[in-house]
Amino acid sequence: MNEASAVAGETADVAVVGAGPAGLAAAVQLRRAGAGRVVVLDREAEPGGIPRHAKHQGFGIRDLHRVMSGPRYAARIAEAAIDAGAELRTEAQVTGWAGGALEVTAPRGRSRLDARAVVLATGCRERPRPARLVPGSRPQGVMTTSMLQQLVYLRGESPGRRAVVVGAEHVSFSALLTLSHGGARAAAMTTEHPRHQTLAAFRAGAAMRFRTPLHTRTAVSAIRGRRRVEAVELTDLDTGVRREVECDLVVFTADWIPDHELAVLAGIELDPLTRGPAVDPGLRTSRAGVFAAGNVLHGAETADVAALDGRHVAAAVVGHLEGGEWPAARVPVHCERPLGWIAPNAITGGDHAPPRGRFLLRSTERLARPRVEVVQAGRRLWAGRLRGLGPGHSARLPHDWAAGVDAGGGPVTIRLPFVR
């Protein structure tokens, strides 16, 4: 039997891959803008993305202007997409491309979806232990925050008794909360940075509520245990002093990597710093008809920020459906250390206003109110002072300079000005 002939094919105006905050918000906005048939595909059994199992409060602030828990938010945004007339398909995994069409595996069959536009909204994930090259044995009880949350909130399982949390960003503090809900104690929290990367209030609250010591400038240098974790070895990065902390659970948090597989398989250019697809302010990738929105573009922003990305991408998608020309020239935007990444990270002849009217900028170390300049071929396009930023939280960079970029002028660089 010819395999291709057995594959059912269908068409849509827009295929959105990923039913998390970005994908669902994109679907709602696309339907409202008259984009036609919008199909949202998600490989999970339930729509909503990460918020499904992030049970803490604080979702919906910027996009829905109210505060709710992750699961409530997930249900709400899925409902909104259905109400708007988008077709939502769960247990439907996009496994690759057949030319411009998406190959989909679902219980109802293996099929192809040929859409006039594709929005990649596949999100990001935390780097697991092997990707961080943490040596030692390979026992059970080593996980990411996401797996911890799913164990505790979706399965009602006890994750373990005594945990070490690696990382000190927002999500790491959410892991502390999840541990306490799961009946586990956090024996220690570690970060290689000189301080935590979350809001001072989270840190102070956690210190009071969970009494978990935060070890800064500390690396997990080994994991020990045979079938189950028994201890981790911590190394003080300044003194080299090592010590063991007994635990039966290690939670690797943050250190995000975009889930960029479909972008790579489509030959879409990745930004070397974000590791997500490089996009212009309209969220167009390097491949005509393919857009990307939300945390597939960069390390995690909060769900509401991802949703606003989704809302934003609809305009460029509709422009494309209406026959708008795909911008050919793309000027890459990079940043220099200690700046970490910028997104969007390409300037085209298209629109210049990024989502929420700002570029997002991160740094590899904490910078308090740094002065930053935007330069192209030695020409300064913009200079100014930003609010504080770090590896775990972004600063906003205004976008008015983007209109002044010379399409043939070479890459744009964001950097800290040289100080004499």
Partner: protein
């Protein structure tokens, strides 16, 4: 399963160790009218030294001419190649390129070719730098040439012992897992008493295929002659997105002491880098080390510089069962009714079926009565967990016939609920998550459980009627 029940505990042959070698021997002996027990200390078939190897189907071109290893690797290569086709062991005919990075290494090519020919392998061919870079465009700069070994391929490291053992079990062999042999006692006429923590069984013959512990079993049976010094090998597995970077098995020019570090695609669609080689004390210590991993990264940067931009999916550590002898230690003693296959090092996956044939003949000569069974070995087809042929998720026919093959539960590796169900219902079901990984690839992918790490264990528990806490080894 088998009509011959465990409780009898009385066998013609007890094979100690269900790795590649022990399982292959069990399969071979299952052809005859023999009551055979396959006794494994670990929780699963192929869960010891067999599970972490470089997954290369060797030709034996670099073996020691005239050695038993050279002969058995060459024979085993052909046997496993045919068997892979027969039962569906994932295998890709990549061929290997042995790369020289300087004139000194290049100067050793003649000797390597001569060695290969003395081992009976005549297809080694020299390849100039131009052709080398044409065939491996992502190879780091500075290579001066290569030797092509066209029959050195990549193979699934997990399926072979499972296939051997499955056929053996279906033919009536008793597989007894989680039963470490703690003592052997020779009782003159009746053979051997084999003591495990679960009780005592009797066997007329003992076959020692205990891998890392083959020396200990050898001593239990009253013999001296070899000592296993575990040699640790650390391996790095890169993200699947790196697969287009490497087309062949890329071998280094071997030195006196080691075969060195290779880069190779895997049948699962990853790229593998390793192994390191360090003699270690403990037969249980499969810890990776900061030094070993840093060494591999540095080497990887030189061999295929573009690998550095890719994520690392997994780190594995294997212990090879090296002895003080350069050759395999295989023999049979008719007086004691005892046979052994020890010191089977990294080539064991390739040679396993030939070792089984060889040991069968040794047993025959030593007096084990081999009477062919009425029925030939049952035909089997192993689940395809390799990338060379379409996996269930990509097969419209399978998904249409059974929607469970359309229900992807491990997203990174595209493992479906149907495959996990099948594994749980198979002749040798997994007893833990590692066993499930080796049978289906579930949880082996880039997210390492971020998406499905809570779901898959629950699914295994549900499908195998067990408790999740036990599956996740959670302290009670």
């Amino acid at each position: 399963m088998s009509a011959r029940s465990h409780s009898e505990g009385s066998y013609d042959v007890a094979i100690v160790g269900a790795g590649d070698v022990g399982s292959a021997i069990a399969r071979e002996l299952a052809r005859f009218e023999l009551r055979v027990a396959l006794i494994e200390a670990g929780a699963d078939v192929g869960a010891g030294t067999s599970k972490a190897n470089t997954a290369i189907l060797h030709t034996g071109f670099d073996a020691k001419p005239g050695s038993l290893e050279a002969r058995l690797v060459a024979r085993g290569h052909d046997l496993l190649l045919a068997y892979a086709d027969e039962v569906g062991v994932p295998l890709e005919r990549t061929g290997a390129l042995l790369v020289a990075w300087d004139a000194e290494q290049h100067g050793r090519f003649a000797a390597i070719r001569e060695n290969a020919e003395r081992c009976g392998y005549g297809r080694v061919r020299e390849v100039g730098a131009g052709e080398l870079y044409e065939r491996e465009p992502r190879l780091g700069p500075g290579a001066v040439g290569a030797l092509e070994v066209p029959d050195e391929h990549i193979v699934c490291p997990f399926t072979p012992p499972l296939a051997f053992a499955t056929q053996a079990v279906l033919a009536g062999v008793d597989l007894r897992r989680s039963e470490p042999v703690v003592a052997l006692e020779r009782r003159d006429d009746r053979g051997w008493l084999v003591e495990t923590p679960r009780g005592t069984l009797t066997a007329r013959w003992i076959v020692n295929a205990a891998g890392l512990r083959s020396d200990e079993v050898h001593r239990m049976a009253g013999n001296e002659g070899f000592t296993v010094t575990p040699r640790r090998g650390e391996l790095i597995v890169f993200d699947k997105l790196s697969r287009p970077l490497v087309n062949h098995v890329l071998l280094p020019v071997p030195t006196e002491t080691t075969k060195g570090v290779l880069v190779a695609p895997t049948v699962f669609g990853n790229v593998m880098l390793g192994p390191t080689a360090a003699d270690v004390e403990s037969k249980d210590d499969t810890s990776s080390t900061a030094e070993g991993l840093a060494y591999l990264r540095r080497l990887g940067d030189r061999l295929v510089p573009d690998l550095a931009a890719h994520e690392i999916t997994a780190v594995y550590v294997g212990l090879r069962a090296a002895t003080e002898h350069s050759d395999y230690q295989i023999g049979a003693d008719g007086g004691d009714r005892y046979a052994w296959a020890g010191g089977i090092r990294s080539t064991g996956l390739t040679s396993s079926m030939a070792i089984a044939e060889h040991l069968r003949d040794e047993l025959d000569r030593a007096g084990l009565k081999l009477e062919e069974a009425d029925e030939s070995l049952p035909a089997i087809r192993m689940p395809n967990i390799g990338e060379a042929a379409p996996r269930p998720y990509a097969r419209p026919d399978l998904v249409a016939a059974d929607p469970e093959y359309g229900r992807v539960v491990c997203f990174c590796e595209r493992v479906t609920r149907g495959e996990i169900r099948d594994a749980a219902a198979s002749a040798i079901p997994p007893t833990d998550l590692d066993g499930l990984r080796r049978r289906t690839r579930a949880l082996m992918g880039r997210c390492q459980g971020f998406f499905c790490g809570a779901h898959v264990p629950a699914l295994l528990a549900e499908l195998s009627g067990r408790d999740v806490a036990e599956i996740m080894e959670r302290p009670g």
